[in-house]
């Protein structure tokens, strides 16, 4: 039997491109919609595509990937490196592997930047956290895509 050929639609948009900002607040938090991803894959590759950062140096964007392991609670399993407001357009890729160990942890423990917990749950979503430095309103336009491998 020939190996199955990879198809375009295996890449799934976890969050469509949109601008998110703090307004006049110092912080802004948000989450995307829940998604189902393919099952029993070796790994997922997540791409964070920041196309615009109408912000300044002190403004920061943190983007996390979350999954549900127990049917109820969202757990952070990947965190991209922080995006700074004066960095311009950036595209960051992080990989998340079913076959690699993850040491036991308590869920209250924060996940560091550019780190992963190699856990694949039933549902997936994106959450983000924007902090405003000295700008009037920190704004970032970004999308997140998942691709199984």
């Amino acid at each position: 039997m020939a190996l199955e050929t990879k198809r375009d639609h295996d890449a799934i948009e976890l969050m469509a491109s949109a601008a998110h900002d703090t307004g006049e607040d110092w912080l802004a938090d948000g989450t995307g919609d829940s998604h189902r991803l393919p099952y029993q894959v070796n790994a997922f590759c997540f791409t964070l595509d920041v196309t615009a950062a109408e912000s300044i140096l002190g403004d920061t964007l943190a983007v996390y990937i979350q999954t549900k392991l127990d049917g109820s609670n969202w757990t952070d399993v990947a965190r991209f490196a922080a995006v700074t407001g004066n960095g311009g357009a950036v595209r960051r890729i992080i990989r998340h592997t079913a076959q690699i160990a993850t040491a036991e942890f308590e869920v209250g423990t924060g996940l560091a930047a550019a780190a992963v917990r190699n856990l694949h749950g039933d549902e997936w979503r994106v959450r983000w956290h924007i902090e405003r430095g000295c700008s009037v309103s920190a704004a970032f336009t970004f999308s997140v895509t998942a691709i199984p491998m």
């Binding site: 199955e4 295996d10 189902r36 991803l37 393919p38 099952y39 029993q40 894959v41 070796n42 549900k68 392991l69 127990d70 049917g71 609670n73 757990t75 079913a98 076959q99 690699i100 160990a101 993850t102 040491a103 036991e104 942890f105 308590e106 869920v107 209250g108 917990r117 190699n118 856990l119 694949h120 749950g121 039933d122 549902e123 199984p148």
Partner: protein
């Protein structure tokens, strides 16, 4: 053929949430076979106890059709910790050194072995004579 999409019921309760005051174990559960790994979540929602009251929770599997073997041991939970949720993982592709089954599995440790059946066992140290821990354990294949 499209890749199969993950479903809700893949997350399976190994033991439902209940208050436990004594050492015991749950019933045998079948989980999906030939997976890459299993993640186990221990959710402790109440611990009306003192610091000297201790809870140890293990996940066991059957590798020979007969005997239960410890393959995951969560961090020991003290009675005054409060609610906590611990996640651990056993992975089919990773090595596990040979061991004699009488050798204790340390806290926050795993043996990367996936057998035919699964269950939870727990040990309660009741120093206060009133120890009670309410917890559940869930398995999620990946």
């Amino acid at each position: 053929m499209a890749l199969e999409i993950k479903r809700d019921h893949d997350a399976t309760a190994l033991v439902a949430s209940a208050a436990r005051t004594e050492t015991g174990n749950g019933t045998s559960v079948r989980l999906p076979g030939m997976t890459n790994a299993m993640a186990f979540t221990l959710a402790v929602t109440a611990d009306e106890s003192t610091a000297a009251d201790l809870l140890d929770v293990y996940v066991q599997t059957k590798l020979d059709g007969t005997n239960w073997t410890d393959v995951a041991h969560f961090t020991q939970h003290a009675g005054n910790t409060g609610a906590a949720r611990y996640i651990t993982k056993v992975t089919a592709q990773l090595a596990t050194a040979e061991f004699e089954v009488g050798t204790a599995l340390g806290a926050a440790a795993v043996r990367n072995l996936l057998g035919d059946e699964w269950r939870v066992r727990w040990a309660v140290v009741d120093d206060s004579q009133a120890a009670s821990f309410t917890f559940a354990v869930t398995a999620c294949p990946m």
